[in-house]
Subunit: 351 residues, 2 copies
């Protein structure tokens, strides 16, 4: 039904104008009709989008994952979600060409196995790609969610045109999606960019405790900032409550609240130093800040001020994520399109 | 003259045996006859090697660079050195096919420009490739010396067969040569791997002073370790003198001297944490330790013990540089061979 709709334009043009070019367009449109689904599995919600073959999201959905974090439960949510999206689009199951799923963990994109997720989800060696393909009978791809966000930003976001950049996701956890020479760089064991564990002056603890928040996360991840706020809070220093979220604290900093500004500056300094360390290794010209905390304008401005003051050679440029909370989902859509093209033999390269 | 010598073996075989294979060998030998020169420009010496077209070094030379650090002076040393090597080999100037030079600084290998060397040499934007080609009338290539060491180790050393690894040069300065997907990774502005400036718990100072030793260098570079020894030294703690080199201190640590062992452990811990931070970004499976300090077995063993104790997933393997002080020179020879092949249209890829 929608396949026919997809062909309608070019077919009409062919009849009206009779040009060879329109016959060709018609063939391309026919080949590219259909849909893909992108999925972002998070610690609190599972978000999905149905997109057309140009990657334009048509319908989105979101489901809570609270209390449903095992692989089977998540797979069930995805399969149900796909059916609902197709129903909403009045699309036949065979119109779905591929799916790509982002997960918050170390992911082998070649074998399609989630090697490990954070201590919050606790997955180990889950063959998610095979599970998806068995259930849905379409090509599936999986990747780390931060890598997908980087792919999204590279495709239609703040890193469009950048061959080398780092996407920093700063939320509850902290991770980096690294793109080098125009392609995602995932590391020897698929764990590149796990910078939540970075050690810096002022971080507490050392390596080797992979099931806990890392030293950098403990300082400037969502829970880390809440904890730092509790640490510096006292009733004689601020009229704000002792329990605030990171973004609430940064909102108060924007409004000039002194103690919130102190914590903002501490957090910005720590993040700036992490960016500096990553820059020393990779010498990337662009860092894209994303995630609920990374997107906060107060943090970004404070980090930019610190980096500017250093006046270092080949100073990296900072940019806000253009896609915001949609970055992962758009990266998943792009990856699903690649999987569909690879499967159809079109062999479209990512960049 | 040496061209004739170069052909002698295959020619004789052809006469004696008359095999087609030998005629083929002869053609290959003829095509590949000649020499290349590899050069390593250091803070205290300039080392050179004349190699045949298989990359086997035939004659080496070394000259002091003390008091002769300007680009013109160094260029003069290289040109004189090339002439001396050819004379020693009784080779005609036209037998020299290419030259590659490693310099201790940020180097644009495409344009052939040394963008900056450390505070010790102070070069800025020196078009060394063009200067060499103007003087010697052969294809020239230049690169950062640590990148060349990584290329050497990748070619015939400890990283042979490794697609992703980091070569750590720890001497007076500290730098990393990064190989990803089998190719040197140099960064957006040719400054990847400048990890002497890395910030870690225990380092002093911050970013932005690129003309001084970096925070990590100040702790575990050659001068840094001497300085740390002076700091912890007191006559009642050790019978060793207050002025010792880093390798002397580590030699004493190997022999069981307590204060030297303390400093060895502190240095090893700092280096292990730097390796950890680099691993978080790159997730490389191998680190090759080189440079006068990095090659010290006491340091390597101590770092390995620390890393082993962490018991982290995807723990990087440590290896000693197999090429030792020859790594840079062999990387230069390999790079010169590549330049010769590229120039002759053979287009031999590096890896």
């Amino acid at each position: 039904m929608l396949d026919n709709n997809g062909k309608a334009g070019p077919e009409r043009m062919q009849i009206e104008n009779g040009k060879i070019a329109d016959v060709h367009s018609n063939a391309v449109a026919e080949k590219q009709s259909g849909y893909v689904v992108g999925v972002d599995v998070g610690g609190t919600s599972l978000r999905m989008a149905l997109a057309d073959m140009t990657g334009t999201p048509l319908i989105k959905s979101s489901t809570s994952t609270v209390g449903l974090r095992g692989p089977d439960a998540v797979l069930g949510l995805i399969v149900d979600g796909v059916r609902n999206l197709l129903t909403q689009a009045a699309a036949a199951p065979e119109a779905l060409k591929s799916i790509a799923v982002g997960v918050p963990g170390v992911t082998n994109t070649e074998d399609g196995v989630v090697i490990a997720t954070s201590y919050l989800m606790g997955w180990r060696n889950v063959p998610l790609k095979a599970l998806l393909e068995n259930e849905l009978h379409i090509p599936a791809a999986i990747d780390n969610d931060v890598n997908l966000a980087a792919i999204g930003e590279s495709w239609v976001g703040s890193a469009k045109g950048s061959q080398d950049f780092v996407f920093l996701a700063i939320g509850t956890g902290i991770g980096a999606g690294i793109v080098l020479n125009g392609r995602p760089y995932r590391g020897s064991c698929w764990a590149a960019g796990e910078i939540g564990y970075m050690l810096l002056p002022g971080t507490v603890g050392g390596p080797g405790k992979s099931h806990e928040p890392g030293p950098l996360e403990s300082m400037i991840g969502g829970e880390g900032i809440r904890e730092q706020w509790r640490r510096i809070w006292s009733a004689d220093k601020t009229s704000l409550p002792q329990e605030l979220t990171a973004t609430e604290i940064f909102d108060h900093a924007l409004r000039g609240e002194a103690l919130a500004q102190t914590l903002l500056q501490e957090s910005a300094s720590m993040l700036a130093h992490a960016i500096y360390n990553i820059s020393l290794v990779l010498n990337c010209s662009l860092f894209v800040l994303g995630g609920s905390i990374g997107l906060h304008p107060a943090l970004r401005d404070a980090v930019q001020s610190i980096v500017d003051e250093w006046n270092i050679r080949a100073c990296p440029r900072l940019a806000a994520s253009a896609l915001g909370t949609e970055a992962q989902l758009l990266g998943a859509i792009r990856t699903a399109l690649d999987a569909a093209h690879a499967s159809s033999g079109a062999g479209v390269a990512r960049n």
